[in-house]
Amino acid sequence: MKSDVILLGHGSGGKLSHQLLDDLIIPILSGIATRDQNDAAVLHHDGGRLAFTTDSYVVDPIFFPGGNIGDLAINGTVNDLAMTGARPLAISVGLILEEGLPLADLQTILEAMRGAADRAGVAIVTGDTKVVPRGKGDRIFINTSGIGVFDHPLEIRGSGARPGDKILINGTIGDHGMAVLASREGLALESDIRSDSAPLNGLVAEILAASGGAIHALRDPTRGGVATTLKEIALQSGVDITLRESALPVGEAVAGACAILGLDPLFVANEGKLLAVVAPEAAEEILALMRRRPEGREAAIIGEVGAVSAGKVYMATAIGGRRAIEMLAGEQLPRIC
């Protein structure tokens, strides 16, 4: 039965989110086709290009191993800009605070935002603060918007994958989602899993400078995880993609926690990872570049783009089998970012 009310799954980043966008939000508000959806809009003005994006953060709990809602809100928007190949320039911050939030918590969050902005080299230039009565919010929600500029003429978008391209990732998958989940109340899961929350604009700038023309698509696999993001790229580009299970970097603790909870790390959110679809001849060089940076030390080539198709994603399993990979359906873990 189709739901007549908003379900948590509509915010999962998976299929329900796409349906909500395609059936209701986009037709009324804008009109861009699904195939053209990217992490940020690219605007043409006065002969130049600007990247513009926005994102809201409702993660629960607000403090988790490896970060808090503050640095997450900066890194997420920086990364959305970077995935179009833009250099993030400036960010706005909207704070929605619940009556009763300890000022000390707010200060910690703001300091994390400032630290993340400094690390990414972006300025926080404007903002807004609202307070809602106790019980009408959940401590703190943050919206950030960002603009970026282009230092090159390259067009990086989700529809850019071509047959023969290699798929790269800059490290282990599933760390953010499992770190948040493991620190939730009521889930006595002791682990040393830390969120991978990090700005990726430095890494993107470096690989674009070194071999810009070879980079056909970039995307950060946040909600919905690597599986959902690759499915989006496959659909937008109209190609098959095959992942190799044995090449996927998954941390031992994340793999263990996923096994216990019946989750698949392929669908778990990341906040400091990018998928790069690159020309095969440049793949090794880009991999080496990634591995020289701290946010890319465990980078790997995890798959290939196959033939032109309707957009199928496959997994070549470790034992030599093959299966399909679909987008996340429903919610795997709500309020992960």
């Binding site: 379900l7 009521g186 997994m315 399993t317 470790a318 034992i319 299966r323 399909a324 429903g330």
Partner: protein, 363 residues
């Protein structure tokens, strides 16, 4: 994860596949092997095992996904309880999306019902302790793998004198339905891949009557890909030799007599009863009900609610799929009217359901 890569070794997998191919080389016709457990179904799809096996072996999925075999009437009962003021429904995640006759727990939650997803019945107990003014109803769904922990939670609730913790039970047991399917003339099961975790509780010997009486080979099998391949090899060897024995592939975990302590807790709180299986119907002695002595923890006894008349969706073939008679792709609703985000049948809802597996992993 430690010690899982060892059970996914590609070289060992190739060796087992070659041994299977050799075993069935001279076999006439096709042998049908049924995996009974939903976790096996997932493993078979997830690792792409079906396509690696020789043509002579057909793997079919059976009724071992607890959410899938839970009848619509139970879901309606849970929904009626969720609408009752002052009630918190605590449940494993999969149950919230199962469609009832006219709603689902997920929809009731969006409309304001208090439905909490927990990972253990003991978390539900904590909920009851922290919300003494409300009644917490835990949805007891599952086989012998989960039933002992639910029984344990009832014993613990009694110890802590919690009078606001109740269980609505739809627990089911193995291997009774396997015997029912083995005697179904429409379904020729040549061998059973017996569930791993359930067997850890009931023990490998629990399948002896099935193998003897129904002449079906039974192999208790683990969940890693090499386990499944070895289980298939053992079953195909028995089938080719015309034998029907119980073998235990999963000896690192399952003992002949299982886990007597878990069974004792189970028997203290529950007694066997007849149970309805979605798609299969009533099977005598295949369910568990809360014993008289623990009736004060039985939601069905303690809370009276009006439950709507159960309505099953017309075209849904879940029933036939649960018996292994039909594959998901043969159901007219599959991928059209029935999808994971908008499911019609329980086989599509449960993360271990055959339709969900085919939808998610099928090539």
């Amino acid at each position: 994860m430690k010690y899982s890569a060892e059970f996914r070794d590609p070289v060992l997998a190739r060796g087992l596949l070659e041994a299977i191919a050799e075993t069935v080389a001279g076999y006439r016709g096709r042998m049908t092997l049924m995996e009974v457990c939903g976790t096996h179904t997932m493993a078979i799809y997830q690792h792409g095992i079906r396509a690696l096996l020789p043509e002579a072996i057909r793997l079919i999925s059976g009724p071992g996904c607890p959410v899938c075999v839970t009848p619509v009437g139970y879901v309606d009962h849970a929904i009626a309880l969720a609408r009752r003021p002052g009630t918190i429904i605590a449940t494993f995640g999969d149950m919230v999306r199962v469609p009832g006759s006219s709603s689902s727990l997920l929809r009731e939650k969006a409309l304001g019902a208090d439905v909490r997803i927990v990972y253990s019945p003991l978390d539900a107990l904590t909920l009851a302790e922290n919300n003494r003014q409300q009644t917490v109803v835990f949805l007891g769904v599952g086989f012998e793998t989960t039933a002992p922990t639910v029984a344990g939670s009832i014993l613990e609730a009694r110890r802590r004198k919690l009078d606001n913790y109740l269980v609505l039970t739809a627990h089911k047991t193995m291997p009774t339905p396997m015997a029912a399917l083995a005697s179904d003339p429409e379904l020729q099961v040549d061998g059973y891949l017996c569930p791993a975790h359930v067997s850890a509780v009931i023990g490998a010997d629990a399948y002896l009557p099935l193998a003897e009486k129904h002449r079906v080979p039974c192999v208790v099998t683990g969940f890693e890909p090499l386990d499944v391949l070895q289980g298939v090899l053992m079953l195909s060897r028995q089938t080719v030799a015309g034998e029907a024995r119980v073998e235990n592939q999963y000896r690192r975990y399952v003992k002949p007599d299982g886990n007597p302590r878990a069974r004792a807790i189970l028997e203290e709180v529950f007694s066997p009863c007849d149970a309805r299986w979605r798609g299969i119907g009533e099977i005598a002695g295949s369910g568990l009900e809360i014993r008289e002595a623990f009736a004060s923890f039985d939601a069905a006894c303690q809370l009276s609610v009006t439950i709507e008349e159960p309505v099953e969706h017309g075209g849904c073939l879940c029933g036939e799929i649960l018996k292994g008679k039909v594959t998901p792709k043969e159901c007219p609703l599959f991928r059209t009217l029935c999808t994971p985000e908008d499911p019609v049948g329980a086989c599509m809802v449960s993360s271990e359901g055959t339709c969900a597996a085919e939808y998610k992993y099928g090539c």
